[in-house]
Amino acid sequence: MELSALETLVRVAWVAGAVAFVIGLIRMNSPATARNGNLLSAGGMAVAIGATAVFLAFETREEGLNVTGWVIILAGLALGGGLGLYTARTVKMTAMPQLVSLFNAVGGGAAALIAIDDYLRLSATPSLQVNVATVLDIVIGSITFTGSLIASGKLMGLKITPSRPVMIPGGQLVTAALALIVVAGAIYLWIPNLSVPIMLVILAAALVFGVTMTLPIGGADMPVVISLLNSFTGTAVAMAGFVLDNPVLIIAGALVGASGAILTKLMADAMNRSVINIMVGGFGAAEGTQGAVAGAGHSVRELGMDDAAIQLAYASSVIVVPGYGLAVAQAQHAMRELAELLEARGVDVKYAIHPVAGRMPGHMNVLLAEANVPYPQLKEMEEINPEFDRCDVALVVGANDVTNPAARKPGSPVSGMPILDVDHAKAIIVIKRSMGRGYAGIDNELYGNPKTGMLFADAKAGLAELITAVKAL
């Protein structure tokens, strides 16, 4: 097959883009080169899209230039680009995970739309090779579209998509039935048959499947789910590449599909969870019982605000352990205010950042950086753990499983998970809404420790009260 000069050029540009994606991803593995890697990847994207635009504008077509098509492209680029730029620049860093999920949703949606458009265009019975990719693209793209929207909604805490696991009566049956419809429909089309109604049935079933799959999963597991859906979208885009016979879509899609899968595994490992457990939702269901369960057997000491304030203000060193609860309550600014107040009184304040603290791995660093917490005060787990032995007060704000000493012993769901050695501190103050359990669904032995005092409050409200109490001293 002889290519025109123009087509050769655009294909070379696509290869250049693909190379930039691969090198960009490699560079994003390390903090020192990550930003540069992302910019390289963005540059590759600009080259690939720019070359495509030039190619589409100058290729010789029998029908001449499709003016309406170009109006659509330019309007779509302007609208999508504007929306993307605006939301990405204005989003608060606490709301960033749900935005990533939203971008993932639209990517999956675009891939599904390409396949739908392609299917509607087919006039004869399609060949098997077109058909397999088209149907897979519709199915995977639709699932990630609605699934990511639900995940995003859960992180935003919308009423229709509460962050707690939602148990639909017979939900698993419904999900299984939908999966069956999708598979049966796909096989019917693959035989092959051309049937737009069946395609639409598959589309609808896949869209609903995305919802019923994501709804039962607890908010705490959303990072892993979003990462998994991200990998799905990559696969859907690769399928769109097969549909359109476009190599750059295949390369970029497969690259994201595979790297996303590895990343999902890494994230789940860091949280000591298995991806299958999360998707089945059994573990997450334990969250529903939150608040109802008190520490089994051991007594818990409740601390007054003033006592806590005195302990903190007259300590010589305090280590703050921020967690999921702090991120949810968006209490990072109050946290910094309290820390500054203590520092003004001569207290040495440091932050112990567990690798999976926050709503997503690495999220806590972003949140605290946004609240202008000085970077040198943020200590990683390996660095801070020996310091707990010398610290007067460990202030745990909304962190649970990552402080549970049970992880050091075998036989518990958190066993083997790296934890912060909070129990080595001379005194421990825990700000927490209730005696509820963390994701692992087990009691935290730390709360029964005689050195521990509990402050039952929402992270933001509790910190605000502590600030007032410290000021009053």
């Binding site: 994606f21 593995n29 903090p31 990550a34 930003r35 992302n38 963005a42 899209i49 635009a53 499709n66 309406t68 098509g69 170009w70 659509i72 779509g76 680029l77 999508g80 929306l83 993307g84 990405a88 860093m93 960033m96 990533v100 971008f103 993932n104 639209v106 990517g107 675009a110 891939a111 390409i114 509607l120 265009r121 990072p223 991200n230 885009v237 769109a240 590449g241 097969f242 476009n246 190599p247 750059v248 879509l249 390369i251 899609g253 690259l255 994201v256 599909g257 595979a258 790297s259 899968a261 590895i262 890494l266 997503m360 791995p361 690495g362 972003v366 950086a369 946004e370 970077y375 990683e380």
Partner: protein
């Protein structure tokens, strides 16, 4: 099976292997930005959307391709910008601590 499909399959399989290889031991702090960065890359789907837009010749195709182009572009632009914002915050500020001390 024709030669073109086989070429496409070859590319697909090699790109998958490449995807497995590019993620090494990533520090957990970078998990979120890395996911977001990968998320931007599948925004390449906008290229496909542009191809269907120039082929569009009736209202349904116009609507589908318009939404596809807008969605894909949003994925690309938003994805890269938000990833850059995240990474900007991770940047180690070697000069910053000294400067802050000077101010204080």
């Amino acid at each position: 099976m024709n030669a073109e499909l086989l070429t496409a399959l070859t590319i697909f399989v090699l790109a998958i292997l490449c995807g497995f290889a590019v993620i090494s031991k990533v520090p957990a702090t970078l998990h979120t930005p890395l996911m977001s960065g990968a998320n931007s890359i599948h925004g390449i789907v906008v290229v496909g959307a542009m191809f269907i837009a120039v082929e569009a010749d009736e209202p349904v195709a116009y609507v589908l391709s318009f939404i596809a182009v807008a969605f894909g572009t949003m994925n690309v632009v938003g994805g890269y910008v938000v990833t850059d914002r995240m990474l900007q915050m991770f940047r180690r500020k070697p000069a910053a601590p000294a400067a802050e001390k000077a101010e204080a």
